[in-house]
Structure formats: C-alpha cells, structure tokens
C-alpha cells in the first residue's frame, strides 16, 4: 500500500513538472499577446517608424523580414531539397556521405552569432556585398540549410520502397522514378519540415545584426544591396537602445507580438499540415 502511494506521488511529481513547463510557455505567450494586442492597429502595421522607432509603425521592419526570409528560402530550399534527394535516393554509404552528415550536424550546432561573423567575413567584406539584404539572406540560408536537409530526407525515407521498385521494374529511369513516383508523395513532408527552419530564420537576430540590419531606416528597400530593418532587430533596439524604455513599452510589445505571430504561425501551420498529410498518406 505504501509502495503504491510512493508510486502515485512520483507520477504526480513528474506530471507537475511537465505541466509546469507547459504553463510557463503559455504564460510567456499570454503575456506578449495581452500586452501586445492593444498596441496593434492598422497604423502600427502600415506606417514607418518615427523618432528612432519610439512612435509610428513597424512597416519597413515587416517588409525587411519578409525580404530576408524570401531570400533565404530561394537559396536554401533548392539546395537543401536537392541535397536530401541525393542523400536518400542516389548516395551509397561511404566516405562522402559520412562527410556530408558530419557537415550537416556541425552546421546545425554552429551558434547563430558565429554565422553572423561568417557572413560578415565572407559575404559583407570578402565578396563585397556590403551590409545588404543579399548578405543577410545568404547568411540565414546557410543557417537553415541543415534543418531543410534533415526534414526533407526524413520525408523521402517515409515513401515506401515498393513505389520505387514498381516504377523501376516498369523501365523508368531513376530520375523518372524519383520525380514522378517519389517526390509527389514526399514534397508535402519536405515542405512542412522546411517551414520549421524558415520560421527560425524569421526570428533570428544575431546573424542579421552583423550582416544586414539597419538601426533606423524608415523607408523600403530598393534593391538587394540595400540595408533593411528587420522585426527581431527592431525589437532589440526598442527594448534596449532607446532612452525612455518604459514609454516605448506598447511599441515593444506590439513588435514582439507581430514577430511571435509570424514565427509561431508558420510553425503551427507546419505542424497542422504534417498531421493532415500523415493522415492522408498511410502506407
């Protein structure tokens, strides 16, 4: 009887700890929504900031973040998906594959600020792109590449081998097999996995700090060699670099909420899509 009581107590403790974590997460999100919502109106979303961001809106920062994310996707998605197709469909175990895997794991662990240093050294200075959308997008692309490769490979591996064998047995070439019989079933999974990486790119501050971000630039970018404002960096500026931080609080919460909704919205979408496709394709 005593033993059973201990057992129950232990389970309750573990349950308590787990729910405590969830509660903390919920509180963080709730706090940002509660304080951020009143700050958000059409003016806030569509106007340029004034007085270093203490007044006005955040429109250029939203546009800047979209530019950076689109740039990163344009580079990293084809590279990552292509690499994953090679690894899962063509490559045979060997030195090359081991080297690629080591590289992916290493990349996934590189601190974001080190990506920033790398982007500064290579793209901004060595290649002469300057602090620009181009340099920032490329840096972010390097950062999200491992996420996209790993997610895409997982999706490709989930496609049953029999689909490939059937196609090859009918005389199709390997690429025909992949493009018509494997990819159509793997693409949804590849994309949803990749969205998680892309969400990360949208929220990262450290890499763009050194490669793109403008402290205060209340206009829209004209070319990929322009500097831009970006939401995460703008939030950092508002929260720490302005003189009267208490007065700017609604602006800070508003920016935080927009960023949070953007990133979590993408992640949530990816998770829901994943559930949807898992139900659709059951092998």
């Amino acid at each position: 009887m005593n033993k059973r009581a201990t057992e129950a107590a232990a389970y309750h403790l573990m349950r308590g700890v787990t729910y405590f974590i969830v509660l903390v997460i919920a509180y963080v999100i709730f706090d940002i929504i509660r304080n951020g919502l009143p700050a958000i109106n059409w003016q806030f979303l569509s106007e340029s900031p004034r007085r270093s961001g203490a007044e006005g809106g955040i429109f250029p920062a939203i546009v800047g973040t979209f530019c950076l994310v689109l740039g990163a996707i344009a580079v990293a998605l084809p590279l990552g998906m292509g690499g994953a197709i090679y690894l899962s469909e063509y490559a045979t175990q060997g030195r090359f594959v081991r080297a690629v895997r080591l590289a992916i794991v290493t990349l996934a662990g590189v601190p974001s600020i080190v990506f920033g240093l790398f982007g500064l050294g290579l793209f901004v200075l060595f290649l002469g792109f300057g602090t620009s959308i181009l340099a920032g997008s490329l840096t972010l692309a390097c950062m999200i590449l491992p996420t996209i490769i790993v997610a895409s490979e997982e999706a490709l591996r989930a496609v049953p081998q029999s689909l490939r064998e059937g196609s090859l047995a009918l005389g199709a070439s390997q690429w025909q097999t992949i493009s018509r019989n494997v990819l159509p079933y793997a693409i949804p999974g590849m994309l949803t996995g990749s969205i998680l990486g892309i969400g990360r790119a949208a929220g990262e501050t450290a890499p763009i700090l050194l490669t793109v971000a403008a402290f205060f630039l209340p206009r829209l970018p004209r070319s990929i060699f322009d500097q831009v404002m970006a939401l995460p960096y703008h939030l950092y500026i508002l929260a720490t670099q302005l003189p009267d931080t208490e007065k700017v609080r609604p602006m800070q919460y508003g920016t935080a909420l927009v960023l949070l909704v953007l990133v979590l919205g993408m992640n949530l979408g990816a998770i829901l899509l994943r559930i949807h496709f898992r139900k659709k394709y059951r092998w």
């Binding site: 057992e7 090679y86 063509y90 290493t106 060595f126 929260a239 609080r249």
Partner: protein
Amino acid sequence: METATQQSAPGPAVGERPPEQLPRVLGVTRRRQLKDRFIRATLLLAASTSILIVILIFSFLIKEAAPFLKHPGFSALLGSRWTPVSFLRQTYGIYPLVAGSALVTALATLIAVPFGVCGAVYLSEVAAPAERETLKPLIELLAGIPSVVLGFFGLVVLAPWVKEVFGLQSGLTALTGALLLALMAIPTIISISEDALRAVPLSYKEASLALGASRLQTIWRITVPAALPGIVAAVMLGMGRVIGETMAVMMVTGNAAIITLSPFQSVRTMTATIAAEMGEVSFGSDHYRALFWIGIILLLATFSLNLVAQRFLKKYRMVQ
C-alpha cells in the same frame, strides 16, 4: 560509347532495353540517360554545399582572426581584463567572457536537466498517448519562440521578478540569463531524451515487470539507465544551444565583464560580447580580430559538444 558497352555486356542493364531492337526509342533513351546523369551531378553538388559551408566558416573565421597572432600576439587573449576600448591601454583578456559563458551555461544546465529529464520520462513512459500528442507540440512551440522575444520577456517580466524575489539591486544577473536559457534548452532536452527513452526495447521493460518490479522501479532502474547515453547526448546538445545563444543573454545578464561565481552578479558572455561590440569596431583592428577569436572559441566549443553527443546518439542509430 553507350551502345558499345551495351552490346558487349551479357545482358541489358535494368531499366534499359537493348537499343538495336527499338531503334526509335534509342534517341529517347540516350537523352534520358544524359538527363539522368546531369540531374544526378546537380544533386551531388547540392549535397556538397553543406561541406563547403562548414569549410568556409572555419576558414573565414581563421582568416579574420589570424593577424591577431602577429600583433598583439595570442598571449594578449589570455588575460583577465577585457577593456578593448580604452584610451590608456586596450586589453583583450577573454577570461571574464569565458567565465561569464561558463557560469550562465552551468546554471542553465543545472536548472534545465531535472525539468527536461522529468518531462521526457513523463511524456514517454507515463502520459497517455492522447496527452503526449497534445503536450509535445506545445513544448515544441517553445523551441520556436524567437530568442529576442524571450529576451524581451526576460527583460520586462523575469528580471523585475528576480530582483524582487532575491532582493537585488538589479534584476539583470547571471541567474536571469540562466533561467531564460534553461527555458530554451528544455525543448531540445525533452525531445531528444524522449526519442532515446522510446528506443529502449520493450522486452527490457517486460522482463523487469515480469520479475515483479513496479512500473516506477522499471522506469528508474531499467528504462532510464538504458537510455542514459541518449539523455546525456540530449543534455549536451541543449548545452550547445545555451552556449551559442546570443540575444536573450545579451538582453538580461547586464553585460559586466567580470569574473564571478555568484549567480546574482551581472556577467558578460562571449556571444553577447561579439554581438554588442562588432557594430562599433573598425574592420581590421585588433579589437575586430579579437572578436573573431571569441567566435572561433565558441565554434570549437559547440563543435566538440556536438561531436561527442553524436557519438552517444549512434548507440541508438538515431543518426545515420
């Protein structure tokens, strides 16, 4: 060339018909083969980019940091004073920054491990399937919150709380940073530990239960020890994330470059130093190069943590 090999070969390769029997298809097959090869080569190139990027990262960090060795010399880094901007004498001793990172990381790990492991054990061994499927995405959601948003939350909500609870002059302390970082490490620890726990063969648990052990005894004496290498790997990967974290730490630790063991002091981490100072240095100066050295140290630290963690994870073939 292709036709010649085809004819001399004893039988046609899989997926290709003998060309002499179907002359009109020959052109198509040939083109298809060329196209296949071209695509294969392109995909190979795409797969190689990750290797290329890793090489580029290492070489560009070294390239920017190397001139520091000639002047003022590597020994300039080995000091306990970090005063890169000074009219009297600039010093680039990184000990306070390393100590700051170490203190914050150690505290965050101490906080995150019990929560993470308990959470993982609960999710994989105790929770009902429906409960697990609800809780897991919620915890994954935490991993998605941008670090600057968490940092902002830390600055506005957590720091005043720490200040009040511990009766401090300022809430911007190593402890505040560690609490935030623990929050960031927990999802990593939970999700990898849970995978490791689930990979423990069912027969182990069944054997233990059949011998009369209770469910709790089975969990703590059989399942958790069997999954320990994976849990250790999870903790190390979580630590890697903590060491490399920049924005949240920069916003809440107060950034004083001092050597201390007290969690209630303000500290300055390596990551925060790079982020805060890189904007103001002139490119090519000693200060600039010293910041790249810090980057190299960070890279080596996370790289080795990762490498060891992968070794542990290999036990479960969780990485191919």
